[in-house]
Amino acid sequence: MMRYLWLVPVMPLLGFLVLAFFGRNLRKSIITLIGTGTVGLSALLVILIGIEFLTSPPAGNAFTLKLWTWMSSGGLSPSIAFYLDGLSLAFIFVVTFVGFLIHVYSSEYMRDDEGFARFLAFMNLFVSAMLILVLADNLALMYLGWEGVGLCSFLLIGFWYKESANAAAARKAFIVTRVGDTAMALGLFLLITEFNTLDIRSILETAPAHWTPGSAKVVWIAFLLLGGAVGKSAQLPLQTWLPDAMAGPSPVSALIHAATMVTAGVYLIARNHVVFELAPIAMKTVAIVGASTLLIAGFAAVVQYDIKRVLAYSTISQIGYMFLALGVGAWSAGIFHFMIHAFFKALLFLGAGAVIHALHHEQNIFKMGGLRKEMPVIFWTFLAGSGALAALPLVTAGFYSKDAILWYSWSSEKGSLFLWAAAFLGAFITSIYTFRMVFITFWGKMKTHIHLRPGRAMLIPLVVLAVLSIIGGFLETPHNLGHITLFSGMLSGVLPEVHILHSGAESTELILQVLTALTGFFGIYLAWHFWMKKPGFLFRLKQTRAGAALHHWWLTGWGFDWVYDLLIIRPFTWLSNINKNDIVDYISIAPSNLVVWLHNLTRRSQNGNLRWYAAGIALGLIITLTIALFL
């Protein structure tokens, strides 16, 4: 089965090609069939391959499928080759499976859009690119997928291209991530310089012998790769594009900007974990980036009133958790959180999409309300997702994945109190903003007329994802709660175990778990209190100058956009405007102007006057004689 691995990315690619070339001439049902079918087939294939992989693991717990040599020059010869191990398996499963669900959802959600075929085509292309990204056996090919997903993100954010704002958001996403990508590319160049290969496995195998931990080269490489990861995963300081990326249709937000693409950074770091472990300072940076991102995004989420922006900031924040996990060396915890997050965040986005869809493209939560009764399925599934996001203890998957991160940020040898505190505070804020959103949206009075009710194709994915958000956590539970390690077991061959510093402090773990659970509930209470019960307090707070400023500050995502605008964009456009006509041009015209000037000067000497000419000749004679005699 595994030799058909190449079909996994190729199926959606085929779908893309068919839709791109003939999409406009096909009936919608056929478009749906092709668009979702190819991804579905892929998902099926992944499940079959996964089963085979897990039941009869190949040698070395990894499988490589080389298709052809991409470019070979001077020893460097990256191939078009796919590499399957536990890590990539986890990723392709999420990508194809969640992707399939979202495709199904989209087939109804986007059906009436004039660009339906285009939408599915891009989605298919995205799935394909994402699969190439995670399956790549070398970093060059990974870079291909990496840029490919960026492209699809660009195309899909700007899907409703007639709005300038959407196009601008798309551009912003592409350019900001491209900044990270460039750093990553430099990292690749440095790797080439060091190893003359981009083959991930050989790099990982030779790296420990090649470098002493903390040597300058490896630190540089780790930081440059981190640059790429930060860009793609919308972490500090390149997180600004993700909230704007919500301009795209909700399924896009669900698939690309929540479940899959934005976690590519996590994948990249996990993939190159050896490099990062050799560069402790980079690891520390990853953790700090994660911690600070999760906080900043969390606070920003609290004040957002666009439902998708709340979710976007929450995504940034959750990816911050994953980074934190990676940074403290809890590799599999990070990946586990990725998977769970993919489930519940996709669910939340799809649910939000359904709401938006139903309310005639209304995204402001303050104009919603009371949908609990009107849209029960949506409500319940959304609640399940929110619970997972807020990590409600025991019943939600989010609890297990987040708890692991919290624990390791405390207990890992790379962890610290500060990291834990940040994560803890983050968890608290998470529950606040999550339930703020839930309460405002689903409780209270109806403010908007329901325009359209979701059909089956939209509801089934919601339900499936809700179920996964609940039960997904049981793949991996803390050792005081059953100690299931199905997930980390799958990754054990790929990613190293976390080194726990405070070993044996089981009581600590329990205390922390309880603490976390309690703060979660406290957050929910606060949300209820401030937004449902006594909304006046916050309103008054907003009236004060400091409150307003804080509100505005958080609303605009801590002003990063403003800073970038001031420091980079404005100088650049200013320069572009003043130098539109290329200053070098003036310099290059100067000689010709000089010649014309000289021409006008000398022209006067040819005045037609005979005596003047004679005088000229006499003068010439004098000059000639002077030169000949006296020089």
Binding site: N607, N609, L610, R611
Partner: protein, 111 residues
């Protein structure tokens, strides 16, 4: 043998005449007088040849003088004919009025 005539002085005389002739060419507006001034210069050159010929006791100097004379005659013939023509056309033989062709009125097109 004759008295010593300083060669330098005679050559200086030729050069002086040459210079005066040049001044004539430069300051006269009358075409005829311009030509006349040229004749002065040519004559000075011929004189220089004779001095040189005398110095080397060779006939070549005088031969050259004769050639210059011939040339001057031919030139004057053509030149005066031209001046006559000019007078017929312009009713003037002022050199300064002979500026039909120049670069200043040929206004340069700006491109």
């Amino acid at each position: 043998m004759m008295e010593q005539i300083p060669v330098e002085q005679s050559l200086l005389l030729a050069a002086l005449l040459f210079g005066i002739g040049l001044v004539g060419v430069l300051i006269r507006k009358n075409m005829i007088l311009m030509m006349m001034s040229v004749e002065i210069m040519l004559n000075a050159a011929g004189m220089a040849f004779i001095i040189a010929g005398s110095r080397w006791a060779q006939p070549d100097g005088q031969v050259m003088f004769i050639f210059i004379l011939t040339m001057a005659a031919a030139e004057v013939a053509v030149g005066l004919a031209l001046i006559l023509k000019l007078f017929h056309l312009q009713k003037s033989i002022d050199a300064d009025e002979m500026t039909q062709m120049n670069d200043i009125t040929e206004a340069s097109e700006s491109n």
